[in-house]
């Protein structure tokens, strides 16, 4: 593990036509997201300013030059609300300041709805070569329960448009453990999704955490405060989640997806050969990642995780000052991992991948007790020199992962670090 220049590049586009109650990303909706009167153009200008400021910093840090990016990912939000020309301009700008490798993977997140999937042909022409569709479900009842705007037939249309536009790599995000969803309806969603022949499927259990309670929603936090409606929705939805059903749904997904020739290459991700998300693998391999936009997280590849604050207006105000001052970096914060935390994080991310961990890590005194516990309880298996999760370990991973983290008592720095992050953020503001 060592710090280095970024090999992957993320842009967070914080606009949606409407906000889904379970979503934790930094997003604004309504007027602000409308093309004409809204803040989209202002955001595109601001993010390009941020791009230059970040690139300037990296140029200073790596005067001998940096390697070209292996992946670019436009996420959100609904980045398909951008015009193809805006996407093209942004990618040109990235290429100019960072370099994009010839074989790089360039992904755009797309909502399948008619009104927000945008001009897929135009995006392809702009240089996008992979689409990630926010499908969530192919069951109309689930989509309504989740507050989604699209219907199952929109998904079918979106995929055929994507194919017609020339996209050879399409991901579908699917959600299980959704209120009201049965094992049978989940199986039918999996079957309907597979019938559309995606190259990649991400299947996530719906997670309903509370960013306010976790202290993530302050002025320098990477999350926006939960709206009252969303909070009420989550409180209700939590009551109808069920770990037994979720476990069966996960097992059903594993069976169906493997049966269709998609290989699990991370706990929640399946792909046909050569279609694994290189951008996501960069996160899991702890490669350095640059990230722009409100709420986006960058990583130096070693020990520093930096984020932009989630609120859009302060972001715009810092990068496009109206009072003639020079543009500055947006508010945000960072956390510095100590070596024990970094090693635990690497182990956790590694165990989520099928390759698992090198057995030699058993001699690491910080990790050994947790790993031995995993072996003793049958969550881990030691084969051919690698430690890997067993099928049971894939369902109960957190029980093992928390035992790999340094003891909280020996780590009173949690609060202090949050404090440091705020201080740094405040300096950036000035």
């Amino acid at each position: 593990m060592s710090a280095g220049p970024p090999v992957a590049f993320y842009v967070h586009v914080p606009f949606c036509l409407s906000i889904c109650p379970y979503c934790d990303f930094a997003v604004v909706a309504g007027r602000a997201a409308r093309r004409d009167a809204g803040r989209v153009a202002a955001f595109v200008a601001a993010v390009r300013t941020e791009l230059d400021l970040r690139a300037d910093g990296l140029d200073r840090a790596y005067p001998a030059g940096r390697p070209a990016l292996q992946s670019v990912y436009l996420g959100g939000g609904t980045p398909s609300l951008l015009a193809p020309a805006e996407v093209a301009g942004l990618l040109d700008h990235v290429a100019r300041r960072f370099g994009i490798a010839a074989a790089a993977e360039i992904t755009l997140e797309v909502n399948p709805g008619r009104a927000d999937r945008g001009d897929l042909r135009g995006f392809h022409a702009a240089g996008i070569d992979r689409l990630s569709l926010g499908v969530q479900s192919l069951h109309a009842g689930d989509l309504r329960a989740l507050g989604r705007r699209h219907t199952p037939s929109d998904v079918v249309d979106a995929v055929s448009e994507a194919r017609a536009a020339g996209f050879g790599s399409v991901n579908m995000d699917l959600l299980y453990d959704v209120p009201g969803q049965s094992l049978a309806s989940w199986r039918s969603t999996l079957d309907a999704a597979l019938a559309l022949e995606p190259e990649h499927v991400s299947a996530y259990a719906l997670s309903l955490d509370d960013p306010d309670a976790e202290g993530l929603t302050g002025p320098f936090g990477d999350h926006l405060p939960l709206r009252r409606g969303a909070r009420a929705w989550r409180d209700r939805a939590r009551g109808s989640q069920d770990q037994d059903r979720a476990a069966e749904q996960y097992e059903a997904a594993s069976d169906r997806l493997a049966g269709a020739g998609l290989r699990r290459y991370e706990l929640s991700n399946w792909a046909r050969p050569e279609h694994e998300s290189r951008h996501d693998l960069a996160y899991w391999h702890r490669d350095p990642v640059e990230a722009l936009g409100p709420g986006a997280h960058a990583f130096d590849g070693d020990s520093v995780r930096r984020w932009n604050a989630a609120p859009l207006e302060p972001y715009l105000a810092a990068l496009s000052p109206s009072d003639g001052r020079p543009a500055g970096l947006p508010p945000g914060g960072e956390e510095r991992l100590d070596p024990d935390e970094a090693r635990a994080e690497a182990a956790i991310l590694g165990l989520r991948l099928p390759e698992g961990l090198d057995q030699a890590l058993l001699v690491d005194p910080a990790l050994e007790p947790g790993l031995r516990w995993g072996l003793a309880t049958g969550l881990l298996v030691d084969s051919q020199g690698r430690l890997r999760l067993t099928p049971r370990g894939r369902l109960l991973g957190s029980e093992l992962f928390m035992r790999l983290l340094p003891a909280p008592a020996a780590d009173p720095g949690g609060q202090a670090r949050r404090g440091t992050a705020t201080l740094i953020a405040a300096e950036i503001m000035i």
């Binding site: 706990l267 996160y283 995780r305 029980e399």
Partner: protein, 605 residues
């Protein structure tokens, strides 16, 4: 501060049910006599503990001196001695009443007399106190002062014409209360030239001035820097300061017969200056002490343990400090297989226990865990080996060594609107109670009496009483001694391991139902573990109820991307912390709530 002659002193308490407006009336009296100016006025001045204000109850007795220029043109010194209103604290009430010649009886115009009020009025009458009846909250739309007057007349033989109708909230007629105190309550008796005798009715510990004794002088007088002696403990000291309560401590030069004030003794241990002791002069001591108080009787016992074993020493220090202020708690070290090292503590009642636990947690920043509360049983051993007292179910001798077990019983008085008579009798008889008597207070309300095992009412009897009567019934109880009972020990096994802190002593006929309720509750509260966990209730070697906590199926984070990595790591850290706060029994992690819930539902069925 001017000295007021003995003939113009009045010492009084206020007797009232919770929420009947005692603290508001006290606030008005303080305002009207300019004891506190409007700037300093916060509501419930006398309830100075945060907990008292939050819960709206008075826990500790308080005293305050009011100076009142009466209608006759003379200034009177009125000592108000505040009393707690909850059944757990009747002991404090009786202490306060002993320092008075009269009592204001405050009754809510919409609610009428409550069981607790009746009990306290009887205490006051037994001590020959003059009762000044006040009906409060006459501003409420639902006020029925005529009906309440009828109750007072029927139940306490208080003539209507003596009753003062007030609204403490709006200040209506509060002046008449002050005039009545002056006119009706006699001044304290006591010869100023007799040898000094003063009754200690409360105390607190001050880091600079030592034990501050709250004293009411019966005879003689007391001057600053006098040498005093405590007749029971024999401790002597030179007074550092004496004074009155305004309500903060204000020094004076002299206290005379009937005066209520404080004495800074400089003594370092509350044990040397116990409540109920008699203060006398070291140079010319009295020949006999005043009749003291009955020592506080602890009725409810529970183990209190630190969440983290290393906090044991801090818990001990905290209990010692609290004991300085509240002599009614007792504590002895004990240990539990499940909970480690802690203390078996005795309390006046369940509310008292809750308050002490909260004070320990707030004032001393301790994380605590409490075992299920228990009463004290008297166990007669076989073969004439005598008796043992058992206040911890886990310490009950083996069945073969037990000849018989006796448990404490109480006489409970319940005041309720008559439509709830049926359900409340059912509640009491369902708790092994026997119905005693029924007396109509007025056309709608009755006073019921029952005899019940104390163990049956310490847990949630009061909550049940309130919920069955939609909040209208009130409860008071007094001890009536020990009676034998067919009692057995109910043990709980989690994954085959006995959890001593969950043991209960229950009636044999109820063991089955209680055991079932307990294991069902535990099934809800113990989170699913990595493996299946049986929870069993046993009596001796018989399993009487069993539930199974199914193994955990899924606990894994779905997503782990750029921004998620930090957040998810912190969520895992939090999960890990939660796990570390649990108590391990064998290989099972039991959350604190499981022990607390047993406290709420244990033995209740």
């Amino acid at each position: 501060m001017a000295t007021i002659p003995q003939a113009r002193l009045r010492n009084f308490s206020i007797i009232a049910h919770v929420d009947h407006g005692k603290s508001t009336l006290a606030d008005r009296l303080l305002e009207l006599t300019h004891t506190i100016d409007a700037r300093q006025m916060t509501s419930q001045v006398l309830d100075s503990m945060d907990l008292e204000r939050e819960k709206g109850i008075t826990i500790k007795a308080r005293a305050v001196r009011l100076e009142y220029p009466a209608g006759d043109g003379l200034t009177y010194g009125l000592n108000l001695i505040d009393t707690p209103g909850h059944v757990d604290f009747s002991y404090e009430v009786s202490r306060s009443l002993q320092a008075c010649e009269g009592a204001l009886l405050v009754v809510d115009a919409a609610q009428g007399i409550e069981a607790q009020t009746l009990a306290n009025v009887h205490l006051a009458l037994a001590q020959d106190l003059v009762i000044v009846p006040v009906i409060n909250k006459i501003d409420l739309p639902s006020a029925q002062p005529a009906l309440v007057m009828e109750e007072l007349e029927n139940v306490l033989a208080i003539p209507r014409e003596e009753v003062i109708l007030v609204s403490a909230k709006e200040g209506t007629n509060v002046g008449a209360v002050l005039e009545a105190i002056v006119a009706r309550i006699p001044p304290p008796k006591g010869d100023p030239d007799a040898p000094l005798r003063g009754l200690i009715f409360d105390s607190h510990y001050d880091a600079y001035k030592g034990v501050i004794a709250y004293v009411r002088l019966a005879e003689g007088s007391l001057r600053a820097h006098e040498h005093v002696r405590l007749m029971a403990s024999g401790a002597q000291s030179e007074i550092l300061e004496l004074g009155v309560f305004r309500p903060q401590l204000v020094p004076v030069q002299r206290l005379g017969p009937g005066d209520v004030g404080y004495v800074a003794t400089g003594l370092k241990s509350v044990r040397d200056c116990q409540v109920g002791d008699t203060l006398t002069s070291a140079s010319g001591p009295a020949s006999a002490p005043l009749p003291g108080y009955q020592p506080a009787k602890q009725l409810v016992f529970a183990g209190i343990y630190p969440m983290r074993g290393e906090d044991y020493g801090e818990l001990r220090d905290a209990l010692e400090k609290l004991h300085l202020n509240d002599a009614s708690i007792s504590f002895l070290p004990e240990s539990s297989v499940a909970l480690g090292f802690g203390f078996r503590c005795g309390f006046l009642g369940l509310l008292h226990m809750e308050i002490i636990q909260e004070r320990l947690e707030r004032e001393f920043a301790l994380d605590l865990i409490a075992s299920a509360p228990s009463v004290e049983y008297v166990v007669t051993l076989t073969n004439g080996r005598g008796e043992v007292h058992v206040d911890n179910p886990a310490r009950l001798p083996a069945p073969g060594d037990i000849e018989s077990i006796a448990e404490p019983w109480v006489r409970a008085s319940v005041v309720t609107p008559s439509q709830y008579i049926g359900t409340l009798i059912e509640l009491a008889t369902g708790r092994r109670g026997t119905f005693g008597s029924m007396e109509y207070l007025d056309a709608q309300r009755v006073l019921l009496t029952f005899e019940l095992p104390l163990a049956e009412i310490i847990v949630d009897f009061y909550d049940q009483l309130k919920s069955r009567s939609q909040g209208y019934a009130s409860l008071d109880y007094e001890s009536i001694g020990y009676r034998p009972g067919a009692l057995v020990k109910l043990d709980v096994l989690v994954a085959g391991e006995p959890v001593d802190a969950l043991s209960l002593i229950v009636h044999r006929d109820r063991a089955q139902a209680d055991g079932r309720a307990l294991v069902e509750k535990l099934k809800e509260l113990i989170p699913r573990q990595m493996f299946e966990v049986p929870v069993q209730a046993t009596v001796g070697s018989n399993v009487i109820a069993r539930e199974t906590i199914r193994a955990m199926r899924k606990n894994v984070l779905a997503k782990c991307y750029g921004g998620d990595i930090t957040r998810k790591r912190k969520l895992l850290e939090k999960q890990k912390e939660g796990k570390q706060r649990m108590k391990r029994v064998g290989s099972v992690e039991i959350p604190q709530e499981a022990f607390l819930a047993v406290l709420r539902t244990g033995g209740a069925g």
